[in-house]
């Protein structure tokens, strides 16, 4: 059996330890340097304005890429980023309402969402029914500011698409 002297073993052990640590630190710093500590991007939680400023139906907010949808005094927010490959979906007002069954529930819809890039189409509640989009458009939590009564949308919190915020 081949034996390794204690001295040699310690030498190898120490050099792997020292140089390995150095290489590891370098690699870590190198990768880490690609992640900025601050991002100059719109915030994930933001005020979108007072309730009365919105018209009935989807209101597109370009800066945040969301639709704030008003139905009477009920509000909800849908992402406008296609779940397929990130193009912007546009809303398409239907000439006459149609009844569709989404996930076992029959709903009446007045508008739909279309994606120009690869032809995905979504029902009014964000469920895809044709094209390559794999998942529904996420709905974000809507709340109201206690200070100035403006609506707040939080993109960090995804809620059920049936949830409505009543003002």
């Amino acid at each position: 059996m081949k034996t390794v002297k204690r001295r040699n073993f310690l030498k190898i052990f120490a050099s792997i330890g020292i140089f390995g640590t150095m290489a590891g630190q370098t690699a870590y710093a190198l990768v880490k340097s690609f992640f900025p500590k601050a991002r100059y991007e719109p915030p994930q939680r933001f005020k979108v304005g007072s309730a009365y400023q919105f018209t009935d139906g989807p209101n597109f907010l370009a800066k945040h890429r969301i639709f704030v949808i008003k139905e009477g005094n009920k509000f909800h927010a849908l992402s406008s980023v296609c779940t397929h490959l990130g193009c912007n979906v546009t809303f398409n007002k239907l000439a006459k309402t149609k009844n569709v069954t989404v996930r076992g529930k029959e709903i009446e819809e007045k508008w739909e969402f279309n994606c120009a890039c690869h032809g995905s189409k979504f029902y009014g509640d964000g469920t895809p029914y044709t094209g390559p989009a794999p998942t529904p458009l996420p709905a974000y939590e809507v709340s109201v500011s206690a200070v100035d009564r403006k609506l707040i949308v939080d993109k960090n919190i995804v809620v059920d698409s049936g949830q409505r915020f009543t003002v």
Binding site: V31, F34, F35, P36, R39, Y40, E41, F60, A62, R65, T83, H84, L85, G86, C87, N88, T90, N114, C115, A116, C117, H118, G119, K121, G131, P132, A133, P134, T135
Partner: protein, 418 residues
């Protein structure tokens, strides 16, 4: 006159003209011996246009044009999201002949893709990746290097069309980075790493710029050099593999191109060098002619909230766009994003198949370096089908996809949308 001579002697003092001439002569010889084969070593067959079509040479020439025009564009382009588009516009309209530099760069990029693919076809159909009669030939190493160069070419083309930050570039980048995002498990992290944030912005543009102008061309130069060198070390073109060997000269019954002694041949302009010059001039002329007659207008500036409808990728990526648009599949209740299937899995499988071809090739050594050898009929048919499928997809997507990615016949008029 005397002052000038004395001055110039001062500048180059210590330089012996005669010795230097000798040296440079030696360097020339050694360089040319290594760079291109001398007429003594090589058979007429391996120089023939009929065999190689000089496609690799053409690609190298086009790459040189791209480097030169790219360098000239670097001095005018500003890699910032606010100014990138307008600096390209200035290049097109404000700088005299700027349009020529930009269009030549773009035409050459398209030509490079075309000729790289043609070169791949030539190598495949002639079975040049195979080991023939010669002992030390390792065709598969150069074949793999070639595949790597194909990937590098496409990567340069993709990063290049993002840079003007127009609608096509912006939405192409959006789709490209979301294909990265669609990779399971690491996708989100990888996209964040590439973008340097959650959205396409300055961080992303400057990264793509650095990669496009430095990293990718450097790698390409490296691998093109290796590609050339490897070919020489493998003993030249594959078509020579199956020629009857004459031990005295090492080639077909001593019949070299020149039939001269070694040193004598070097003093003459080698036949290959002549051909090289002709091919270079013809390629350059062709690219310039195309540039003069084909206009490639700039798109509208990037609008991050409204893609064009239909938003089509440049032609060389259209087949991928059609794939990502139609390969979303359902497995039980799970849906797998077409971006992953069509944008990662299918191209990955195609590349893997290409890379593995030399190892599953059972044709005899006689088939090496022979166009359409019968023993390779099946793989040639498979290759042709895949190639035709890709070309058909490109034409289909180009002519038959209208607004909202709906099918239209090419002669149908598109309805007005948004």
């Amino acid at each position: 006159m005397g002052v000038w001579n004395r001055l110039s002697d001062k500048i180059v003092s210590g330089w012996d003209a005669a010795a230097s001439l000798q040296k440079s002569d030696a360097i020339d010889r050694i360089f040319w011996i290594h760079f291109i084969p001398t007429d003594n070593d090589v058979t007429r067959e391996s120089y023939s246009i009929r065999y190689s079509l000089y496609l690799g040479t053409i690609v190298a020439v086009i790459f040189t044009i791209l480097c030169a025009t790219g360098f000239m564009q670097m001095m005018r382009y500003v890699p910032s999201v606010e100014r990138a588009y307008w600096s390209v516009k200035d290049l097109q309209f404000i700088y005299p002949f700027g349009w020529f530099i930009r269009d030549l760069h773009r035409i050459s990029a398209y030509l490079m893709i075309v000729f790289v693919v043609l070169h791949l076809c030539r190598t495949f159909y002639t079975g040049a990746f195979k080991k023939g009669g010669r002992k030390k030939t390792n065709g598969w190493i150069n074949w793999m290097t070639g595949i790597l160069l194909l990937v590098l070419t496409l990567a340069m083309a993709f990063t290049g069309y993002v840079l003007p930050w127009d609608q096509v570039g912006f939405w192409g980048a959006t789709i490209g980075t979301n294909i990265i995002k669609s990779i399971p498990v690491i996708g989100d992290w990888l996209r964040y790493f590439v973008l340097g944030g959650n959205e396409l912005g300055q961080n992303f543009l400057i990264r793509i710029y650095a990669v496009h102008v430095l990293l990718l061309p450097l790698l390409t130069v490296l691998f093109i050099s290796y590609h050339f060198w490897r070919n020489r070390k493998d003993g030249g073109m594959a078509c020579e593999d199956n020629l009857p060997v004459d031990t005295a000269q090492g080639t077909e019954s001593g019949q070299t191109v020149s039939g001269l002694q070694k040193d004598e041949a070097l003093k003459r302009t080698p036949m290959f060098l002549k051909r090289l010059i002709w091919v270079s001039l013809a390629t350059t002329a062709f690219a310039i002619l195309l540039t003069l007659f084909v206009s490639l207008p700039l798109n509208a500036p990037a609008n991050p909230v409204m893609a064009e409808n239909p938003a089509k990728a440049p032609w060389f990526l259209l087949w991928l766009q059609e794939l990502v648009a139609s390969t979303t599949i359902s497995v039980g209740q799970y849906r797998i994003n077409g971006g992953f299937v069509g944008g990662m899995v299918i191209p990955g499988l195609l590349l893997t198949w290409l890379a593995l071809v030399p190892f599953f090739d059972n044709s005899p050594p006689e088939a090496t370096g022979v166009w359409f050898h019968r023993s390779r009929l099946r793989q040639n048919i498979l290759f042709t089908i895949i190639l035709l499928a890709i070309i058909c997809l490109i034409f289909f997507t180009y002519f038959c996809r209208g607004p909202n990615w709906v099918f239209f016949w090419p002669w149908e008029v598109w309805p007005e949308v948004h």
